[in-house]
Amino acid sequence: MIRLLLALLLLLASAMPGLAVNPDEVLADPALETRARAISAQLRCMVCQNQSIDDSNAELAKDLRVLVRERLKSGDTDEAVISYVVSRYGEFVLLNPRFEARTLVLWGMPAILLVIGVITLVLAARRRGARVPAAPLSDEEQERLDRLLRP
């Protein structure tokens, strides 16, 4: 069932089967093409459900793929291409959100949790350690012990 929604939306989003990069889009320079693929995998197809433009065959994804390749051919760096796409489509297009004020909690979460977890564990271990020395025996108990141990 988990996959039902995904499957449904994929189909709604893409009217035709057949996917992603078409032969006519591929750049002649393999190094440039590899960079284009890597960038495409990080850009969201805006009209699809959680697909990168590299995976999607929607018209918009195709336009974006061609756009990315054109920018690369004109000599842009990877960052410049991504910035250009973001400036046109907004940060929503980034599958890998940027590290900034509003994503602080998102990116920081694993580290924060690990630190809190480790501190808790250390404190718990200390507390356990402190608990180990038991209260000294009372006189009465000492006497009983002596009596028991006496040969």
Binding site: I2, P17, N50, L113
Partner: protein
């Protein structure tokens, strides 16, 4: 008439669930054994009623009774019988009924096989199960009634979504729900323990088999879903970090942590409070997953806002149960006494580390899944959190975990010897490094990370085997003696080793496919040949075909290696008549544990067709590893310890596994 009977049975089930949720609790308060005993009978009756109701819906599907709206929307008279049956849960209403059926099935199992549970605990556990059942029966009856009729009845149905007309739908959802909903039993046990304010090693012994069973099913369900997506969706991806997938992955991660902490609790009476908290958390994540998938909130916040009845209803269930359980925990946790003491370097310590990393990973996935929703609700900003984020954060967290996994079983309880364990893992580490070096050499350099990842997988496998070898004394004593010792090992140790080996196999598959897969996109005309790695494919031409409810265009390819034809493959595009919906049926050929994946694209104006061919090295390891993990879970369930004093309990989940 029979449809109305099914509907009515569901209403009766609601009444039974309410009784099961109230009277036994009163019985516990008053110390009335008759009222407490009522819980078990009510649970059985409730299961029979829901099962009848489910059978009726299935009957409506099999007989193509289009006067039932749900059947009309999701079935077709020409559909093959198996898809008529699986179509029952291939839609919202039916899948919720399946959810409910599995929930009351688990209650009935507790009632049947929990004969030697302390009677107050049993009454409380079944009562909590009944509260959950009441909430979801109400949900089905009030917002998602599958028995609604249509007047006049249409002559033909609208058919099931073609993507779902696959054997995957028959297996994946039931397995997934058996896992996801199975954790409800752990939840009920935890809440019952909090209500009683008492928890002991016996409690952990009850909870562990349930956790194991649910975990095994969930592992199977997720792996199955992943493989289904891989071959059905047509572009060879097997995990997308889609929110819908994360919804099932989070309970799995938390459940894995629970499995390990329950072990500590059973053996050493330590980590009690934490185990209870994890049990609650795991099922809470299952509920959250149900909410995410069923409310439509993921599609868009707007879709949720336009028809919020269902979403708000599940959200209410979520708030009541999660909020209630955590409040109860906050009030009562201090009543539970902390148990055994252990040094940081010990088996317990290793399992605590496991829990720390797994819960952090769960929280990371949870944050990533919900962050865009929360941010948009708070500020109106729209951002995406996709695969690159999860791969990076989750991968970084898993790396140290995988590195320490083999240490756990090698450390002693209470106080372990880290240097000794490291020494014993020397072989594993050496073989792992050798494998990495060999791989680096074989692929002529390239990225360093990939060979290291493969080496880590090998280290994990050898490390898990090391434990078994040392325990059986292989190499130190005669083979016969070693075999005797090996067969005398507790099944749970063998289960542990298997599960860890499975993890290693999956890791190897993931790394190999991620790093070394190749993709070829070409336009082909009949007769054209393209090279893919060591194989070459010749496109022989297209053929038209016709299935019961679709037409298809299939391409035939001959696969050869070194000029010799070794295999052939069909890859097709289908058009399902009822919905006029096209799908791709990828052609897949397996070589060893690697696969060649052929998918057809668009037709070109000049008569050619776009063909995408992937070479997926070692890809079957991903799911093969999951199978080994499951085998570990099943072997662990047969452990004597879990059977002693409760003969049927440990076998039951197994019998279920065989029957499904």
């Amino acid at each position: 008439m029979i449809i109305e009977l099914g509907h009515y049975a569901l209403v009766l089930a609601l009444a039974t669930a309410i009784i099961q949720g109230l009277l036994p609790v009163v019985g516990v308060r008053r110390g009335d054994p008759a009222l407490m005993a009522l819980a078990a009978n009510a649970a059985l009756v409730c299961f029979l009623l829901v099962a009848f109701s489910f059978a009726v819906l299935t009957f409506a599907y099999v007989t193509s009774d289009f006067s039932v709206k749900n059947v009309w929307e999701n079935s077709h008279s020409l559909k093959p019988l198996i898809y008529k049956v699986t179509g029952v849960w291939g839609n919202h209403e039916g899948s919720m009924l399946l959810w409910l059926l599995i929930l009351v099935f688990f209650s009935a199992m507790v009632a049947l096989f929990g004969r030697n549970l302390p009677e107050t605990l049993k009454a409380n556990v079944l009562a909590v199960q009944a509260w959950i059942a009441t909430a979801f029966t109400l949900f089905v009856l009030l917002t998602s009634n599958p028995f609604a009729r249509l007047v006049p009845a249409p002559g033909e149905g609208r058919d099931l979504n073609p993507v779902l007309q696959d054997i995957g739908l028959a297996i994946h959802p039931p397995l997934l729900y058996l896992g996801y909903v199975g954790f409800s039993v752990c939840f009920s046990f935890a809440v019952a323990a909090l209500i009683e304010g008492r928890i002991d090693a016996a409690w952990a012994r009850w909870v562990r088999p349930w956790t194991l069973a649910a975990w095994t099913f969930l592992t199977a369900g997720i792996a199955m879903g992943s493989y289904w997506a891989y071959y059905e969706l047509g572009w060879g991806g097997w995990w997308f970090w889609d929110p819908v997938e994360n919804a099932s992955f989070m309970p799995w991660l938390a459940g894995t942590a629970l499995l390990h902490s329950a072990l500590v609790m059973e053996k050493r009476e330590a980590l009690k409070i934490w185990t209870v908290l994890l049990a609650i958390t795991t099922f809470s994540l299952s509920l959250l997953g149900t909410f995410l998938v069923r409310s439509g909130v993921l599609t868009s916040v707007h879709a949720f806002a336009t028809d919020p009845t269902r979403g708000v209803f599940i959200l209410a269930i979520l708030v009541v149960f999660i909020g209630g359980a955590f409040s109860l925990f906050a009030f009562r946790a201090s009543h539970l006494k902390a148990g055994g003491i252990f040094a940081p370097i010990s088996r317990e310590g290793a399992l605590v580390l496991n829990n720390l990393i797994l819960t952090t990973a769960t929280a990371t996935v949870l944050t990533g899944t919900l962050y865009p929703l929360v941010l948009e609700a708070l500020t109106g900003d729209k951002i995406s959190v996709g695969a690159p984020f999860f791969n990076m954060t989750f991968g970084l967290l898993m790396l140290p975990l995988v590195a320490v996994v083999p240490f756990g079983p090698l450390l002693a309880w209470k106080r372990g010897d880290l240097a000794g364990a490291a020494q014993r893992l020397f072989t594993a580490a050496a073989v792992g490094l050798l494998a990495a070096a060999a791989c680096y050499y074989a692929v002529n350099g390239g990225p360093v990370l990939a060979p290291l990842g493969l080496g880590l997988g090998v280290y994990l496998i050898i490390g898990a085997l090391t434990d078994l070898v040392l325990r059986s004394g292989l190499g130190k004593v005669k083979a016969g003696v070693a075999w005797k010792r090996f067969s005398g090992l507790p099944r749970s140790s063998i289960g542990t080793a298997l599960a860890h080996i499975g993890l290693g196999i999956t890791l190897i598959g993931i790394v190999a496919v991620t790093a070394f897969e190749t993709e070829t996109v070409v336009e082909m005309k009949p007769g054209a040949v393209v090279d893919v790695g060591r194989y070459s494919l010749r496109f022989d031409g297209m053929r038209e075909g016709r299935g019961p409810n679709y037409t298809e265009n299939a391409g035939h390819f001959t696969i050869s290696r070194g000029g010799v034809a070794v295999s052939e493959v069909w890859s097709s595009k289908r058009l399902y008549s009822a919905r006029r919906m096209p799908t791709t049926e990828a052609g897949i050929r397996t070589f060893g544990v690697s696969q060649l994946y052929v998918s057809l694209g668009d037709d070109m104006a000049d008569g050619g067709i776009v063909v995408r061919i992937w070479w997926k090295p070692l890809i079957l390891c991903i799911w093969g590893g999951a199978l080994v993990m499951m085998a570990g879970g099943i072997v662990s369930l047969t452990d004597r310890r879990l059977r002693v004093g409760a003969p049927a309990r440990a076998r039951r989940p197994l019998a279920v596994g065989a029957a499904e």
